[in-house]
C-alpha cells in the first residue's frame, strides 16, 4: 500500500486518538468531571486504539514510509505509552503510614549497613571524647583557637541569660538554619555513598570526630552542663538520622561493588529507590530534630532533670519506633519486604 493511501485510510483514527489525548489524557480529575460532555473516542476504547496505533506504526516502519508518517505515529504512541505505563501516583494519604511503619521496616531490612554506619559514627565520637578527657590539649589540634572560643561562649555556664548553643539569632532563624544545614548533611551523607560507600564513610567519621571533639572539649573545660542540657533533646532524632542516611549510603555503595544476582545497573536502581525512600524518612526526622533544637533545646531556664528526662524519652521513642514500627503492618509493600 502506498503511503498516501495508508494515511488517508487511517487518518480519522489518528485524529480521534490525538483529540482524546488532548482532551482526556491531561488530567484524570478533569476527565472525570467532564465525562458527560465527551462524545469522542470512549475511554474504554483507548487501550485498544493505542494497540492498533502501535501496529500501524510497526507496519509503517516495515514498509519504509517517510518520517512524516512514522514520526507522527511515534509521537502519538509515546503519549499513549506515557499514559498507560506511567509510574503510579504516590499515595499522599499513606504518608503517615510510611513514616510509622514503612520507614522502620526499610531501616531494619538494611540492619547490617545500619550497624556499620552506627559504628563508623559513634566509635570516633567515643574515642575522641575519651582522648580529650585524657589529654585536653588534643582539642586545639582539631579546632582553631577562635572556634574553641566560640564553642565556649555558646555554652557558657557563667552567662545564664544566654540561649543555649547559639551565638545569636532568633528561634525561627535558627530553625531555618538547622533545616538547611542538617538536612543537607543528611542528604549528602546518603548520596556520597554512591562512590563505593567511601563518601558516606568519610562523612560519618568526620562528623563523628567533630561532634566528639566539641563534646570532649566542652566537658574538659567545665562547660559540660549547658552543653549536655542543650543536646539532650534533639540528639536522638538528629544523630540517629545521620546514622541511618549513612547506612543507606553504604547500602548504595554495596550495590555498586557487590550487585549480587542483579546486573550492576539494576542493583544500583534498586539501591537508589530504597535509599531515596529512606531519605524521605531521614528528612522527616531531621526537620523534627531542627524543631526541637530551635524551640526546646535552647531554652536555658528549664532545669537539667527535665531536659534529661525529655531527652531520654526521645531516645527511647526513636529506638522503639525503629525496632518495633511496622512489625505487624497489614499493608506490607512488596518492596519493603524485598
Amino acid at each position: 500500500m502506498k503511503q498516501e493511501h495508508f494515511v488517508q485510510r487511517h487518518q480519522p483514527e489518528w485524529i480521534a486518538f490525538e483529540h482524546w489525548l488532548d482532551e482526556r489524557g491531561e488530567s484524570a480529575r478533569k476527565a472525570r468531571a467532564e465525562r458527560r460532555n465527551w462524545h469522542g473516542l470512549s475511554d474504554a476504547d483507548m487501550p485498544s486504539r493505542y494497540r492498533r496505533l502501535c501496529q500501524q506504526l510497526a507496519l509503517a516502519r516495515r514498509r519504509g514510509y517517510s518520517p512524516v508518517v512514522t514520526d507522527r505515529l511515534q509521537a502519538l504512541m509515546h503519549r499513549g505509552h506515557g499514559l498507560l505505563y506511567r509510574t503510579p501516583l504516590p499515595h499522599w494519604q499513606r504518608a503517615a503510614h510510611f513514616l510509622l511503619a514503612g520507614f522502620p521496616r526499610l531501616v531494619r531490612a538494611e540492619r547490617g549497613c545500619m550497624l556499620a554506619s552506627f559504628a563508623l559514627f559513634w566509635i570516633p565520637i567515643a574515642v575522641i571524647f575519651a582522648a580529650i578527657q585524657w589529654q585536653p590539649e588534643l582539642s586545639s589540634s582539631l579546632f582553631e583557637p577562635a572556634q574553641l572560643m566560640q564553642f565556649e561562649r555558646m555554652y557558657d555556664p557563667a552567662d545564664p541569660a544566654r540561649k543555649l548553643g547559639r551565638d545569636n539569632g532568633t528561634d525561627v532563624a535558627m530553625f531555618g538554619h538547622y533545616v538547611w544545614n542538617n538536612v543537607s548533611i543528611g542528604f549528602r551523607t546518603f548520596a556520597s555513598g554512591l562512590i563505593a560507600g567511601i563518601g558516606s564513610i568519610v562523612v560519618l567519621i568526620v562528623n563523628g570526630v567533630m561532634i566528639g571533639g566539641v563534646a570532649g572539649h566542652l566537658q574538659a573545660v567545665g562547660h559540660g552542663d549547658p552543653f549536655w542540657r542543650f543536646v539532650a533533646g534533639h540528639s536522638a532524632p538528629e544523630l540517629t538520622a545521620i546514622v541511618i542516611s549513612g547506612g543507606a549510603g553504604l547500602r548504595l555503595g554495596l550495590s555498586l561493588i557487590a550487585p549480587g544476582q542483579r546486573r550492576r545497573i539494576d542493583s544500583l536502581i534498586h539501591g537508589g529507590r530504597r535509599g531515596a525512600k529512606i531519605c524521605i524518612g531521614v528528612f522527616a526526622m531531621l526537620v523534627f530534630a531542627a524543631f526541637v533544637e530551635a524551640f526546646w533545646s535552647s531554652i536555658s531556664s528549664i532545669p537539667a532533670p527535665v531536659k534529661y528526662a525529655v531527652g531520654a524519652v526521645l531516645w527511647a521513642l526513636v529506638f522503639v519506633w525503629l525496632l518495633r514500627g511496622g512489625r505487624n503492618a497489614i499493608h506490607r509493600d512488596d518492596e519493603d519486604a524485598a
Binding site: M77, Y85, G176, S184, G272
Partner: protein, 226 residues
C-alpha cells in the same frame, strides 16, 4: 551508530525511539534554572528582609526548598521539565519511556551531590560522555533519561501536484532518499534545492529547477499521490 537513540521495546512489541540529550543542552538548561533559582532567592530575600531577623529563618527554609526540591517538584509535576529544560526542549523521562515519578525525580536530584564532584559537574560530564545515552550517575541510579522533546512538524502540502513514474525501478533506500528530499527541500533555498537535485541527473535527465520539479513529481508517484 551515530544516533543517540535509545530504543525501548514497549509491551506491544514496537520500538520507541527516545532521542537522548547530550551534556551541552543539559548544561545550558541547568544554567537557566540556576538563574531562575537565584532570581527567586533574591526576590525572597527582599520580601523576607522586611521581617528582620526572623525572616532569615524563612529565608534558610526557602533556600533549602529551592536548592533540593526545585528540580524534583518541576520534574515530577510538570511532565519532566524544569523551566530551563523547557526552554531547551528537554524532558526527563523514565528509562522505559514513561513519565518520571516523584521517587525517581527525587533520587536523580539527590545524586547531583556525586555528579558535582570534584567541581562543576565534572563527574556528571564524564559519565554522560561515556554513557551511550548521555546519562549522568544520578540518571543511572534513578533509572531515568533526559531526551529531546519531539518537535511537532506540520505535514507540508505537496510542492507540485502531478506525479511522474521514475524511468528505472528504484531500490527501497533510493525511494526513501527521494521522499526525504521531497519532504525537506521546500525548507531549503532554491539554489540548494537545485544543487541537490543535480546529483540525481541520471534519474531525472535534467538540471536546475526542472530537475527539482521532476524529483517532486517522482516522490508524489512513490507516495501514491496521483
Amino acid at each position: 551508530m551515530l544516533d543517540t537513540y535509545r530504543e525501548v521495546v514497549t509491551p506491544e512489541g514496537v520500538a520507541l525511539h527516545l532521542p537522548a540529550a547530550g551534556p551541552m543542552p543539559r548544561a545550558l538548561a541547568w544554567a537557566i534554572d540556576f538563574i531562575v533559582r537565584a532570581a527567586v532567592m533574591m526576590a525572597m530575600g527582599m520580601f523576607l528582609g522586611v521581617f528582620g531577623r526572623g525572616g532569615t529563618g524563612f529565608y534558610a527554609v526557602a533556600m533549602f526548598l529551592v536548592y533540593w526540591f526545585y528540580p524534583v517538584a518541576f520534574e515530577a509535576m510538570w511532565n519532566g521539565r524544569t523551566p530551563g529544560k523547557r526552554a531547551l526542549g528537554l524532558r526527563v523521562i523514565a528509562g522505559n519511556g514513561a513519565p518520571v515519578g516523584w521517587l525517581a525525580a527525587f533520587t536523580r536530584n539527590l545524586l547531583r551531590v556525586v555528579d558535582m564532584l570534584p567541581l562543576a559537574y565534572a563527574t556528571g560530564l564524564v559519565s554522560s560522555l561515556v554513557d551511550p545515552w548521555g546519562r549522568r550517575l544520578g540518571d543511572m541510579v534513578a533509572g531515568t533519561l533526559v531526551v529531546h522533546d519531539a518537535r511537532a512538524r506540520e505535514p507540508q502540502p505537496a510542492a507540485v501536484d502531478t506525479a511522474l513514474a521514475p524511468s528505472v525501478a528504484l531500490r527501497p533506500y533510493e525511494q526513501a532518499a527521494l521522499v526525504a528530499f521531497a519532504e525537506r527541500a521546500p525548507r531549503l533555498s532554491e539554489a540548494r534545492q537545485a544543487e541537490l537535485a543535480d546529483l540525481a541527473e541520471p534519474l531525472t535527465g535534467a538540471r536546475g529547477s526542472t530537475a527539482v520539479t521532476r524529483l517532486y513529481r517522482m516522490a508524489n508517484w512513490l507516495l501514491g499521490r496521483r
